[in-house]
Symmetry: C2
Subunit: 358 residues, 2 copies
C-alpha cells in the first residue's frame, strides 16, 4: 500500500509500529504517552528530545528558537503579523498559489498593509518569480513566501533575497525534505502533517532578535516570545504529536539525515517527472525549474479516463492520487516517508495504464 495523500500523509512504517507497540505502555511506565502529564519529567524529556533532534537534523543555529504550537500553518498565517507587524505596518508577500493566497488573506485581516511584490497568477501558478524580479520595500516588517505550493506543485529553486527584511517562509509541504540554510531566514514554520508527523502541530523556528515584537493582543499561545520562554508549554501542548515528531526525527537520522533524504527525494521526483515527460499521455504543467519534489500534479490526455485511472490505482494499492479540485487530474505527493519503491510502483502502473488504455 502506497499512500500519495497531500497531508496528512504516509508515515514511516517503523515509526507507526513503534507507536503502536508502546501505545498502552510507554517506556515501561504502565501508561500511554497519551495519558502522561505534559509537566511530568518523562514528557518534558520527550519534548526536549524532539526539540534537540530537530535542531540537530535541521542544523538550527543556537540563536534560533524552535517552538511547537497548536493550530497548524493556518494559525500561523495570523500569528505572523501579530508577532512581527503593528497594525498598519507594511508586510511584503510573494504570491505563488493557493497557500500564498491564504497567508495573504489572513495577514489582511490582521490589519497589515499587504504588498504583493510578485504574483504568478498570470501563469495559473505554474511558475515562481525570477530571482531579482521583485523589490521588497525596505520598511517592510517581513517578506513572506511559500517555498513549496502543495496544490500547484510549484517550488522555489532558490531562497529569495530580502535584504535586511526578515524572510518568513511556510515550509509546511517541504519541511526537512532536504538540507536547509536556516540562517537565511528570520522565521521558518509549517504544519507537521506532511513530512513530520500527525496533524495538529505547527513547528516554528524563529531568530531570537525577532522575539518581542508582538502586539499586545496576540493570543498568549501564539506569542512566540512567551512560548519560547515557556518551552512551548504555556498551556497543554499537543503531546502525542510532539512524541511522534520525535520518533520521526530519529527515523530521519537513522536513514542518513537531511543530505541523504534530499538525495532520495530528488531522485524520486526526477524519475516521476521523467516518466511524465517521456509520455504524450501524461502532462505536468509546471515550469521546469519550479517543479516540486514533494507534490507532483499531472493530467491525463483524456480526462474521461481519470476515474478509471484512480480506480485501477486503488486496486493495486496506490491511493489518494486524485488531484486537488482547483487543478484537476492527479497529484502524487511523495514526502519523506514515501519509499522509492512507491514511486516505481506508480510509474509502472502509469506505464501500463497508458499502454492498455490510451
Amino acid at each position: 500500500m502506497y499512500n500519495f495523500s497531500a497531508g496528512p500523509a504516509q508515515l514511516p512504517l517503523p515509526v507507526l509500529e513503534q507507536a503502536a507497540a508502546e501505545l498502552t505502555d510507554w517506556q515501561g511506565s504502565g501508561m500511554s504517552v497519551l495519558e502522561v502529564s505534559h509537566r511530568g519529567k518523562d514528557f518534558v524529556a520527550c519534548a526536549a528530545d524532539a526539540e534537540s533532534a530537530f535542531r540537530r537534523v535541521a542544523n538550527v543555529p543556537s540563536n534560533y528558537r524552535i517552538l511547537f504550537l497548536a493550530g497548524g500553518a493556518t494559525g500561523q498565517f495570523s500569528a505572523i503579523p501579530m508577532n512581527l507587524a503593528a497594525r498598519g505596518a507594511t508586510a511584503a508577500y510573494l504570491n505563488t498559489g493557493q497557500w500564498s493566497k491564504k497567508a495573504i488573506k489572513e495577514a489582511g485581516r490582521q490589519g497589515v498593509d499587504v504588498r504583493v511584490v510578485a504574483d504568478e497568477s498570470a501563469s495559473a501558478y505554474t511558475t515562481t518569480p525570477e530571482p531579482g524580479s521583485f523589490t521588497v520595500p525596505v520598511d517592510a516588517a517581513y517578506l513572506h513566501y511559500t517555498p513549496n505550493e502543495t496544490i500547484g506543485g510549484v517550488e522555489f529553486p532558490y531562497i529569495p533575497d530580502a535584504g535586511d527584511v526578515p524572510l518568513v517562509a511556510d515550509f509546511s509541504s517541504t519541511y526537512l525534505s532536504r538540507p536547509i540554510d536556516v540562517e537565511r531566514f528570520g522565521v521558518i514554520y509549517g504544519g507537521a502533517q506532511k513530512n513530520l508527523g500527525p496533524a495538529g502541530l505547527a513547528i516554528v523556528v524563529v531568530r531570537e532578535d525577532l522575539l518581542g515584537r508582538a502586539r499586545e493582543d496576540v493570543p498568549a499561545i501564539w506569542d512566540w516570545k512567551v512560548m519560547a520562554e515557556a518551552d512551548s508549554m504555556l498551556n497543554t501542548p499537543p503531546t502525542f504529536s510532539i512524541y511522534l515528531l520525535g520518533l520521526i526525527l530519529h527515523w530521519i537520522e537513522s536513514t542518513g539525515g537531511l543530505e541523504a533524504m534530499g538525495e532520495r527525494n530528488c531522485a524520486k521526483a526526477e524519475r516521476l517527472y521523467a516518466a511524465i515527460d517521456a509520455s504524450d499521455f501524461y502532462n505536468n504543467p509546471v515550469q521546469a525549474r519550479s517543479r516540486s519534489w514533494m507534490n507532483i500534479p499531472f493530467t491525463l490526455a483524456d480526462p474521461a479516463l481519470d476515474a478509471d485511472f484512480l480506480a485501477g490505482a486503488d486496486a493495486v494499492g496506490l491511493t489518494n492520487l486524485k488531484g486537488h479540485r482547483s487543478v484537476g487530474g492527479m497529484r502524487a505527493s511523495i514526502y519523506n516517508a514515501m519509499p522509492a519503491d512507491g514511486v516505481t510502483a506508480l510509474i509502472d502502473y502509469m506505464t501500463e495504464f497508458e499502454r492498455t488504455r490510451a
Copy 2:
C-alpha cells in the same frame, strides 16, 4: 497502575487497546488513521461520527453547533472575546481560581472591558459564590465562568443565572462527567485532555444565534461561524485527537451514558471525601458544597511526609498524585476513565500510610 494526573490523564484501556491494534491499519485501509487525508471520505465519516456521538451523549439540541478546534481551552480564552465582544464592550467574569484568572487575563488582552462580578480570592479559592450574590451587567456581551477549577478542586454546585446574557463556560475538567443542561448555556467549551481524549483539541458547543458576532480580525481557525460552515475543517484539523474522541464517546455510551457516568463519578468522589473527612491526618480545604468530583486536593497533617507518601504511592502503582505547586500537598484527579477500583486502591493506601506513619 492508576494514573491520577490532572491532564493529560488516564484514558479507558479498551480505547487505548483498540487504537494500538489499528494504528498501522485502520478499518482495513492498510493505512494508519494518522496518515489519511482529512478530506477523504473515511476521515470525514470518522469526524462526523464523533460529532454525532457527542451530540447524542451530551444531548446537544439541534440549534447548537459542535466545533473541533485547535489550541485547547487557552486558545479559546482569546477566541471567546474575539467571537462575542467588540473591543471596548463589557464582558462579565466569575473568578473562582487559576483557570478563571487565565481566562480573565486573556480577555483583557483582547481589549474587552472585563467586569469581575464575583471573586473568591478571599477564601483562597476554596469557595464558589452564593447563587444570586452577584449581578451581571445587562449590557455584558457574555458571562464567563469555570464550572470546575482543576487546580483548586472547586466546582459550582449550580449553573449561574445570567438572565439574557449568554453564559459561557469552560468545562475542560468536567466535560461529559455527568448529564448537562446545554440549553442553559450560550457556549460550552473545553480541552479534551481530561475526560475526552488526548491533548490538542478544544471542543466548542455554541448556540447558533451567537455565530456571526465575530470581529473582523479573528483568526480564521477560531472564527466559530467560519468553522461551523466548514464542519471544523477550514484547515487540517487535529485528526488523531478527533478519532480518539470518537472512540471515547462510544466507550461512554457502552458504559451507560452520562447518567451512569455521573452516578459513578459522584460515588467515587464521595468515597474519597469521606475517607479524607474521617481522618485527622488528611485534609481537603474546599467548602463542602463546592467540592469537585473531578479534582480532589488534600494535604497531609505533616508536610514533611509528602515525599514519602508520593514515593510509597508510586511503588504500589498510584501515580501523579503530587498537588499543584500553588496549592501544595496532593491532588487526585479522578476523571471518567478512573475506575472505582482506582479510588479504592488510593483510599486503602492512604489508610495504611496514616496507620503506619502518622
